[in-house]
């Protein structure tokens, strides 16, 4: 889980979605990093391209995107690489 969290912070930072400085896996991305609905779309597209899966409807409540840990949890659930099964 730690690996994927670190990977995500770098990924979002590289794509201009959040500023890497001062972010940890529990930082509230909406309240503290200025994540808004436009950037959330970028974030979702960015994850789907990087990890080669599509979020299911049930993954899309905003609560699932409030922290890096929450996002990593969904990715883990949906991908072979981190879960062993799809």
């Amino acid at each position: 889980m730690k690996d994927i969290c670190e990977e995500l912070i770098i990924l979002f930072s590289k794509n201009g979605i959040i500023d890497q400085q001062g972010i940890n896996s529990e930082t509230d991305l909406f309240e503290e990093c200025g994540l808004d609905s436009l950037k959330l779309i970028d974030l979702i597209v960015c994850i789907e391209e990087k990890y080669d899966f599509e979020f299911l409807d049930e993954d899309l409540p905003f609560e699932n995107f409030t922290t890096i840990t929450n996002i990593a949890r969904i990715i883990k659930k949906r991908t072979v690489k981190y879960n062993g099964e799809k």
Binding site: I44, V45, P61
Partner: protein, 267 residues
């Protein structure tokens, strides 16, 4: 007074007779008064809107199909204008404005950079949404009118006002005999991968509701209730570190008239 229209086959806009105009004013005045009683600021907005506003809030990506962009005659063509003038593509320039597709889009730039605490703003406006589907003069118009109300403030304030207004709207519809019900809804985005994600996010987070009626066998929204979170407050710099959010309610006035017509058996 009988209805008059220069070209009766053009169903993209509606001229309302005196009776329907009274209905429209009655509905508009009702929601205007409710809003003013709550301390709303009423503003006047124009039909023109700079395209830059749409770029800043992602409207061009979400709804390019609704855009109406005015053109004007090239200066060199002025002297050629005579009574037989024909307007064709070679003689016109495209402007960097559009005709306002949603009244609330004027309000966010109006608030830019301001510090706001739980505020309500209302306006009545003429709006323009181009449609791929056929216009029908009652519920699908290119040019129609809205009473728009925007809520700005804390999440609790904005969500509370949206709830309050959906109850007020439903209750008013019942009071005047319009058979309407509240439904969860999503915007009609231009179909792309990114817009499909937007639509699914709206559905899964219940950020949009509509007051729906059946007219001529089709469901039509006579009001919509939209929670934006920081979608507008962030790009227009009044979110105060994501603490200030917005929501809006739009009442489609011609559709209310159509719903009242149905009540009277004139559908």
């Amino acid at each position: 007074m009988a209805e008059f229209k220069y070209n009766k086959s053009d169903l993209s806009y509606a001229v309302l007779d005196e009776r329907k105009t009274q209905f429209l004013k009655q509905v508009d005045e009702y929601f205007r008064n409710v809003t003013l009683t709550m301390g709303a600021e009423e503003i006047h907005i124009p039909s023109l809107l700079n395209l830059d506003v749409l770029r800043r809030c992602g409207y061009l990506e979400s709804f390019p199909h609704h855009l109406t962009i005015p053109t004007y005659l090239k200066k060199a063509e002025f002297d050629r204008s005579d009574k037989n003038v024909e307007i064709d593509n070679s003689r016109i320039e495209v402007s960097d404005r559009c005709l306002t597709p949603a009244a609330c889009l004027h309000i966010y730039p109006y608030l830019e950079g301001k510090k706001i605490r739980d505020k309500i703003i209302t306006t009545r406006a003429s709006v323009y949404r181009h449609e791929d589907e056929a216009y029908d003069e009652k519920v699908r118009l290119w040019n129609f009118h809205v009473r728009e109300i925007v809520f700005v403030g804390s999440r609790q304030f904005v969500k509370g006002k949206l709830e309050e207004f959906s109850a007020i709207s439903l209750s008013y519809a019942k009071k005047i005999g319009v058979d309407a019900h509240l439904i969860d809804a999503h915007d009609h985005f231009h179909p792309t991968k990114r817009n499909d994600i937007k639509k699914r996010l709206q559905e899964q987070n219940f950020v949009k509701k509509e007051l729906s009626v059946s007219i001529r066998g089709n469901n039509a929204a006579i009001a919509s209730f939209n929670y934006h979170d920081t979608h507008f407050s962030a790009p227009f710099n009044f979110s105060e570190n994501s603490r200030i959010v917005t929501g809006c309610v739009g009442f489609g006035l011609e559709r209310w008239v159509a719903a009242i017509d149905k009540r009277e058996g004139r559908e």
